[in-house]
């Protein structure tokens, strides 16, 4: 909760900075503030405090996800410093990002449908704007509008679901809903299940699970790289946290009604984006598809007995996010260099970028001993343990397909001849990339600490 205050406060501060014209060092101040918020949230570990009439519950789940979101946010700010500095609307952008973070934190900690709804909307509305923040770019514009239109369409379904669930259970409070379900398991009206499915639609839209993923590749491609990175990391974490809260904490008892749908969606989410990504020439768009594909693995862990998969999902998200940040960091640097050949022969132009990108891609592909491997490994174990052998085989095949498209980028970087002009990378980016590299390796070599955290 304190973290939420700090983040919102930072948001206002950023707005005031506009008026006070204190733009220099704003990003660093924000990073420091986020770090402080992260510390504040971690202090409450194991306390599970309920705030404001059960509106928010900062249990360990929420704390872990909030801390993760904040950590990734710090890394993100570090990476995308030049998305702010020297750009127009610097403070507006910072404030929007911060409020989006606030929305994300709400999404991890809500205990009331109202908070869920507001959290999602704060996050979404900020992102609609941020996706279009590159106003001259037609693509950014298009991405923004697509995201907005489809997002609000999906919101309609989410709301419809909330309304129906409310009608059936008489409450917006997750705890009461859950207890109502367990008390009246037999007497729930039919429309309640309809409501649950509609909520499923609304939430899986945010997750970008197939068939509600169509926005994702387009929006990711069109948005500025920094925002794409933000969407595929922070937003994804928040969406999954919210999804987990609703469907594992609240609707777990009626799993029978939605699990089969989710299984179907899982398989589709594994297959469709991974297969589609194979034919992509654009690294950013490829990463977008891959990001959608990774949701499939998380969903696989989720459908395989969600209460025990907390640790798995958290680890997967952590490794995925850190790796993605690394990948986007390189992408950002490459796009900044404004050379036509993109990733071609990157190894010759800047070995560090190529190595970091390779490690990131290897991790995303799930090659040991990197972070991504353990994520996938635990997902597979989880699923196998719960009898999802067939789905695991599909997941194995899709991750092979994944290797194919990730490695095409690697090949291009190392083998293809491109421009020879070296790419200059600023010192802070170098430090960041090395830090991320170390993190990816460390998480791969010593995964135990993170796994046991949420066991």
């Amino acid at each position: 909760m304190n973290a939420l205050y700090v983040i919102c406060g930072l948001g206002f501060l950023a707005l005031i900075a506009e008026i006070a014209s204190v733009k220099k060092g704003l990003t660093i101040a924000i990073m420091a503030g986020i770090l402080a918020a992260a510390t504040l949230v971690l202090i409450d570990w194991n306390s599970a405090i309920h705030y404001y009439n059960e509106m928010l519950v900062f249990d360990n789940f929420a704390i872990a996800y909030t801390a993760l979101i904040l950590t990734i946010a710090v890394l993100w700010f570090w990476m995308s410093g030049d998305y702010f500095s020297g750009q127009s609307h610097q403070t507006d952008r910072s404030a929007l990002i911060l409020f989006a973070l606030a929305g994300a934190i709400i999404m991890t900690a809500f205990n009331n449908m109202a908070m869920l709804f507001l959290g999602i909307e704060i996050l979404s509305i900020s992102l609609y704007v941020l996706a279009g923040s590159n106003k001259e770019s037609l693509l950014s514009n298009e991405a923004s509008f697509k995201y907005f239109l489809m997002g609000s369409f999906a919101t309609g379904f989410l709301l419809m679901g909330i309304a129906l669930v409310y009608g059936a259970t008489g409450s917006f409070d997750l705890t009461s809903i859950a207890s109502h379900i367990s008390n009246n398991a037999a007497a729930l009206p039919g429309f309640f299940y309809g409501g649950v499915i509609m909520m499923l639609v609304g939430m899986t839209f945010k997750l970008s699970a197939v068939p509600f993923h169509f926005w994702a590749p387009d929006v990711y491609e069109g948005s500025p790289v920094a925002i794409t990175a933000f969407m595929s990391t922070v937003v994804k974490i928040a969406a999954i946290a919210a999804f987990y809260r609703v469907f594992s904490f609240c609707f777990y008892q009626i799993q029978g009604t939605w699990i089969i749908i989710l299984q179907g969606m899982t398989i589709l989410t594994l297959v469709v984006p991974n297969v589609t990504a194979v034919y992509q020439g654009n690294v950013k768009r490829m990463l977008a598809y891959s990001s959608v594909g990774h949701v499939g693995y998380i969903l696989l862990a989720f459908i395989a007995n969600s209460p025990t998969s907390q640790g798995t999902i958290f680890y997967y998200l952590t490794s995925y996010s850190i790796t993605s940040i690394a990948a986007f960091c390189v992408l950002h640097e490459v796009e900044k260099s404004k050379t036509s050949s993109g990733f071609d022969g990157l190894y010759k132009r800047n070995p560090l970028l190529a190595v970091v990108m390779s490690v990131a891609l290897l991790s995303l592909a799930g090659i040991p001993p990197l972070a991504g491997f353990f994520g996938k490994y635990m997902v597979f174990t989880q699923a196998l343990n719960n009898g999802y052998s067939g789905t695991v085989i599909i997941a194995v095949i899709t991750s092979l397909i994944g290797v194919y498209y990730y490695f095409r980028v690697i090949i291009v970087m190392f083998v293809k001849k491109g421009e020879e002009t070296p790419i200059q990378v600023s010192g802070s980016s170098v430090i960041l990339m090395i830090l991320l590299l170390v993190l990816i390796l460390l998480m791969g070599v010593f995964p135990d600490s993170l796994i046991s955290l949420l066991k």
Binding site: M113, F117, K146, A163, G167, S171
Partner: protein, 100 residues
């Protein structure tokens, strides 16, 4: 007293009309309006339930929905303006530079 399922049907019909509109029209503004229709379908259902359950929380929720709707419309129309500025049209199908 009007049975609750009437309201559910009404809401369902209204919601479907909203969806129909989103699918049917290509004019972005109308599409946004149709989304508003969907939200209103939810509103009416929410109020009905609230009344039926004798619980004011439902009605309070409707306030939030309205607030969000207003915010969405504001932002959406702003985006739409930029889009019109860039494309000179509000046809949503013109927006397909991002694909494949």
């Amino acid at each position: 007293m009007i049975p609750i399922d009437y309201y559910i049907w009404l809401s369902a019909i209204l919601f479907s009309i909203g969806v129909l509109g989103v699918l049917y029209r290509r004019n972005a503004i109308i599409v946004v309006m149709c989304v508003e229709l969907m939200l209103n379908a939810v509103n009416v259902l929410m109020v009905a339930f609230s009344n039926y359950l004798n619980d004011p929380a439902g009605q309070v929720f409707v306030f939030f929905i309205m607030a969000v709707a207003a915010a969405e419309v504001a932002v959406g129309l702003a985006i739409l303006m930029i889009m019109f500025r860039n494309n000179r049209t509000t046809d949503i199908n013109v927006l397909n530079r991002l694909k494949w």
